[in-house]
Symmetry: C2
Subunit: 210 residues, 2 copies
């Protein structure tokens, strides 16, 4: 496999930026589905794929999300075409008979070990959140991830009890076993409103060969 060209590396990483100001251009359902149908193939531990994605777009849902945001994150989130709640399902293991069919014991291993479930769900939903953002950039979108919000409040508002789950054939919302990980605003960023990029660690500050 050849390396991707410079333009692709730039679009995914090198010149891509976190955006806080958005052009007046909507994000279509079709684009969201394309992102999911790309990022879903990213690797997770025992193919657990514990991430769940809530696409907050309606005014009503945005207003509910607003109450959980840190003050500095309100404006950028309310003005974004769409905000994704990257969440994780603590009962992800119930889907392992489908996702990991060659090893039926895996479901029971997780079911018997809540600490392993928690660690696995957090780590792998974070991986999947990263896959989501890179896939969104691959589709030409910009991302504005943030963790400055009240996770417990988001969980209470969006995941706690009896909520309708539009388009879901699996009722994971009503039972309160989904937890928020982080948020990501999504849209087409306004490059004119970017501030200069902050530094990164040099190779030798973050890496070593042994």
């Amino acid at each position: 496999m050849d390396p991707l060209d410079d333009a692709a590396l730039d679009q995914l990483f090198r010149t891509a930026r976190t955006h806080n100001h958005w052009l007046d251009k909507p994000v279509t359902d079709e684009t969201i589905r394309k992102i999911y149908d790309t990022m879903k193939f990213g690797p997770t531990s025992a193919n657990t794929t514990p991430a769940r994605f809530v696409f907050v777009r309606s005014e009503t849902a945005k207003a509910r999300l607003r109450t959980a945001l840190a003050p500095g994150n309100v404006e950028k989130t309310m003005s974004a075409p769409l905000t994704v709640i990257i969440a994780y399902d603590l009962r992800f293991y119930e889907k392992l008979p489908k996702l990991f069919p060659h090893s039926p014991a895996m479901r029971d291993l997780f079911a018997a070990n809540p600490q392993l479930v928690e660690t696995t769900a957090r780590r792998n939903s974070s991986l999947q959140g990263a896959y989501f953002m890179i896939a969104a950039r691959a589709m030409g979108l910009d991302c504005g991830p943030l963790s400055g919000f009240d996770n417990a409040k988001v969980d209470e508002i969006f995941f706690a009890a009896g909520r309708e789950c539009e388009g879901c054939d699996q009722e994971f919302f009503p039972e309160g076993h989904v937890r928020s990980n982080f948020l990501c605003n999504l849209g087409y960023g306004d490059p004119a409103k970017l501030f200069p990029r902050s530094p990164r660690l040099e190779f030798a500050e973050a890496c070593t060969f042994l």
Copy 2:
């Protein structure tokens, strides 16, 4: 920004696979540095970039790693050209004066809140681990991530006390504040040895619009 073409989406996600069998082709230092210099731009909370990467390549280091692996992960790891320990530094905030220079208060906010440090380090080093894998695939490499190992043992062996840190100008190893997150074997995978890909969740099983 236009979407990347199908070949790029395939290479990064759609036809990329987790590999357990490796071609006899080394991974050069130059390639590793290119991957780091690409993935380092991926977004993290307050630009904290808490991930640290140990590239385990020498026979000695591989032999030490072996003792911490789950039995099912020994062969694929020992035969990989290189294994990356994706770790996180619990004192990442000491680098914020460099990484987040416009807000000196951020360092103190983290320094005063160990729970926030732990959550931030785990979440963001997982994001960075995902960026690393996608950047590796972008360079034409294959990945074999795994979490079936004894984290405490890896931390004891590689991060606990007085270890030499080759090429590091920041002595983060000796003080015991670096923890392993997950491992990733790296190399050029043998496509002939892949098993069929496992299923993924449908959009409606993992996603909802609100």
